[in-house]
Amino acid sequence: MDVKLPQLAEGVEGGTVVGILVGEGQEIKKDQPFMELETQKAVGSIPAPVSGVVTKIYVKQGAEVMVGQPLIAIDTGAAKAALSPLKSAERAPASVRTDASSSAAQMEPVPSGALNEFRYESKSGIPPPAAPSIRKIARDLDIDLNRVKGSEAGGRITLADLRAYIQRLQQLALERIPAARTLAPSTPPVTASTDQVDFAKWGPIRREKMSPLRRTVSRRMIESWTTVPKINQFGDADITALMALRKKYAATYQKKGAHLTLTAILLSVLGRALKKHPRANASIDGSGLEIVFKDYYHIGVAVDTEGGLIVPIVRDVDKKNLLQLSQELQATVEKTRQRKISVEELQGGTFTISNQGSIGSGHFTPIIYAPQVAILGVGQGQAKPVAIDSKIAVRMMLPLCLAYDHRVLDGADAVRFLKDIIAGLEGFGEAEIKLK
């Protein structure tokens, strides 16, 4: 049987083969990983669905593969006979035979994107079954019916099968237009207006292929930018007291193997603020007719990795104390930087923090990570002169920007929400930091 790239997670359409862990003729056990794949934001391994002998490897390292595309062929029949390796090697090419098991496999529907895989094979050499009217249409369109998988009994090709095949051809043809090169067929092109500019006209250039991650980021940004009516709300939080507390307890946290960071504190603050402002934790339903309120608070934290921006999720921030949040955040960031995070761990966020403080940013306007409706952009806290009770004082001020989806949050909602975040930071109590 052919092992095809399974649907790894919602919205993941494909990836790049970064490692092949088996060889042709090699025995493989069920659930044994046979391939490593970089998918959008993670490197994961793909387990074998059955035990058997690998008879064919269809893809090469570095190849881009899509869901449904055959990766390797496993001869399950050979598994039993595989006691002697020689025998299994002999049997290997026989996987194309249409014995009972493989003809059952032929009956599976063809997933989209997989066009080259199917070829009608009949020992009798008689062409594939299709009504004369269907054969006539295929002839008129110059379609080779041997490549069209029939869905009816005996592999008979119906008009619907032919139509589906042609539609896939069209879809693939569209995807192959270089400017629109993206893993997701239905999304708008990554580069909307820069189609085929010859940059070399003005000087030397260097081209670098966009990684799947970069393409995903690019696609998501366009999606968000073109679909979400966004407003940026600025604010500053006086974190002088908070920084003092942080300094006081940093060593204690260190002993527990955790960094006490501003981001961890923000997670804690946001857990409370989001509970108070449920609209900021909501999403618009795909139908565009409903707002989905979520009774869970999973906050994404933008992490700068070598490969690019990745946003892992810290879950249920409202149910965790600061130590737990600090530990979890630290572990998650570490895992992300090492690209060991799974696709599932990147999904399900309800709100996002983008903290650029560590690299010295001031105010900036982040892009909302749709379908979330708000994101908090955090800059670097800086000592600034501030008037307090008509007196100038030097305070540590944290630049904040709340970007929000105006379809869900009104200006007043956003202001109140941001003020609660600021109040949460400014009034962060020692009791919450102190370890019991």
């Binding site: 020992k123 009798s124 299709a130 009504a131 004369p132 110059d142 592999g155 090709i157």
Partner: protein, 470 residues
């Protein structure tokens, strides 16, 4: 002389030629149909399918009447009025010929009667009763048909040595008739004469009659013929023929021993050859294949871009319905359509007693080509309808692709097999599976049920037989 111009010229008004002419006219083309015989319809209508089937039907009543006696209804002994029988047969041919003529008139297809000859790739010269006429055409379709082959050694110039053409004229009822060639023509005409009372002897050089047909389908025919005919001699050759007064002296070879026999008439049915002599093909770019038939591709195009060829002139299975299908393909190809003869299923029917019909892949062909198949059979002895018709001498079989259970071929021997085979054609053309056929309800009691039951027997569940389960 100013030539007549036309878009399409069709040479020959048989089932290939008139179908092509009518279809092209229906598609809006200006068509001229050239035919040398005053009665349209070609071999099929004049000296083939139609007269032979008329005679087979008329004479089968003899056998039916005889068989009826043991069912309790006795007709006594029937009398033959040969002149009336001939006239009735002729009336059918006239009616059909006239029908084609009026169908041509309605379509404004011009018919020119006379013998056609190609002057060049785009010009036909026709020798008519009113002198020569020239036709300048854009495309021509050769549909000139075939004629019975008469080997020189048998061509004595004696009317007692007949081909199918003469035999169908029914000159008399010979007491002793020798049929040389046990193919479908010899067997069909032999059946007519045997019914009329002739002692018929069939000689076949090969080990079986109806060569090429699956052995199990031939068996009921051979069994019936052995009763109806005086003898069927297989592996037997004719060495010599000579006129001997009012008889023909035939020297045959049996077991390598020559033997002389005398017959009142001899029917030579050893094959057919295309009517391509004196056609002027050499003035065109069309070429013949090594068997002497016109060579053409799957779209019926010859090597001459202006000339198409259909029907018997191309060789292959010499069947009227194949010619008609090719006619449509040729016209569609001329109109730029992608039609092709590739993978078209052409059924065949032999009107013997009982009839044999098949379509698609045969067991014989599968064996020759090494194609793995499964065969599902249903014997008519288990069919209620066959028994009520007193015709249990039949067999229905399906040729099935094992992995897909797809029906690749159907074979039927039995009464009315020719009418039953079309369901098989539909099944094969549609890519039906044995399950499709088994699950389609067939009315009871009919002979068509045998197709359904054959399909059921493939699954080991035919109601009226006990199938061998694997």
């Amino acid at each position: 002389m100013e030539p007549i111009t036309t878009e399409i010229a069709v040479l020959g008004a048989g089932p290939g030629g008139y179908t092509a002419a009518f279809y092209a006219a229906d598609k809006g083309k200006k068509v001229i149909l050239v035919e040398q015989n005053p009665r349209l319809g070609g071999v099929c209508l004049n000296v083939g399918c139609i007269p032979s089937k008329a005679l087979l039907h008329a004479t089968d009543i003899f056998r039916e009447a005889k068989d009826s006696a043991r069912r309790g209804i006795d007709f006594g002994s029937p009398k033959v009025d040969l002149e009336k029988l001939r006239a009735w047969k002729e009336s059918i041919l006239d009616k059909l010929g006239q029908g084609i003529r009026s169908l041509a008139e309605h379509r404004k297809v011009q018919i020119i009667y006379g013998r056609g000859h190609f002057e060049d790739s785009q010009t036909l010269r026709v020798e008519t009763n009113d002198g020569q006429k020239f036709i300048r055409y854009e495309k021509a379709i050769i549909a000139v048909g075939s004629k019975p082959t008469m080997p020189h050694a048998f061509d004595l110039g004696n009317k007692r040595v007949m081909t199918s053409t003469e035999a169908l004229e029914l000159p008399d009822i010979p007491e002793n008739l020798l049929v040389v060639g046990g193919g479908y023509i010899g067997m069909e005409i032999g059946t007519v004469y045997a019914a009329l009372g002739s002692n018929v002897v069939v000689l076949e050089a090969l080990p079986s009659i109806l060569t090429g047909v699956d052995a199990d389908l031939v068996r009921p025919v051979a069994r019936a013929a052995q009763k109806a005919f005086q003898a069927i001699r297989l592996n037997t050759k004719v060495l010599k023929m000579a006129t001997a007064g009012k008889q023909i002296k035939v020297t045959i070879e049996i077991d390598k021993q020559p033997r002389e026999e005398h017959y009142d008439r001899v029917l030579v049915s050893v094959g057919r050859s295309p009517n391509l002599t004196d056609l002027g093909l050499e003035n065109t770019k069309a070429v013949k294949d090594d068997k002497g038939f016109i060579q053409c591709n799957d779209q019926q195009q010859t090597d001459d871009p202006h000339i198409y060829a259909i029907g018997d002139a191309n060789g292959g299975a010499l069947l009227a319905h194949r010619a008609s299908k090719e006619a449509k393909i040729a016209v569609e190809a001329m109109l730029g359509e992608s039609s092709t003869f590739e993978n078209v299923i052409i059924p065949a029917v032999v009107y013997t007693h009982p009839e044999v019909a098949w379509c698609g892949l045969t067991e014989t062909e599968a064996k020759q080509k090494g194609i793995e198949i499964k065969v599902a059979r249903f014997p008519w002895g288990a069919s209620g309808r066959a028994l009520t018709l007193d015709r249990p001498d039949g067999l229905t079989k399906l040729i099935i692709e094992p992995e897909t259970e797809r029906i690749l071929g159907v074979g039927i021997a039995g009464a009315g097999a020719g009418e039953l085979i079309s369901e098989g054609v539909l099944a094969v053309e549609m890519g039906a599976t044995a399950r499709d056929l088994a699950d389609s309800v067939h009315p009871h009691p009919t002979l068509s049920e045998t197709l359904m039951e054959a399909a059921e027997s493939f699954f080991g569940t035919a109601t009226h037989t006990v199938s061998r389960r694997e």
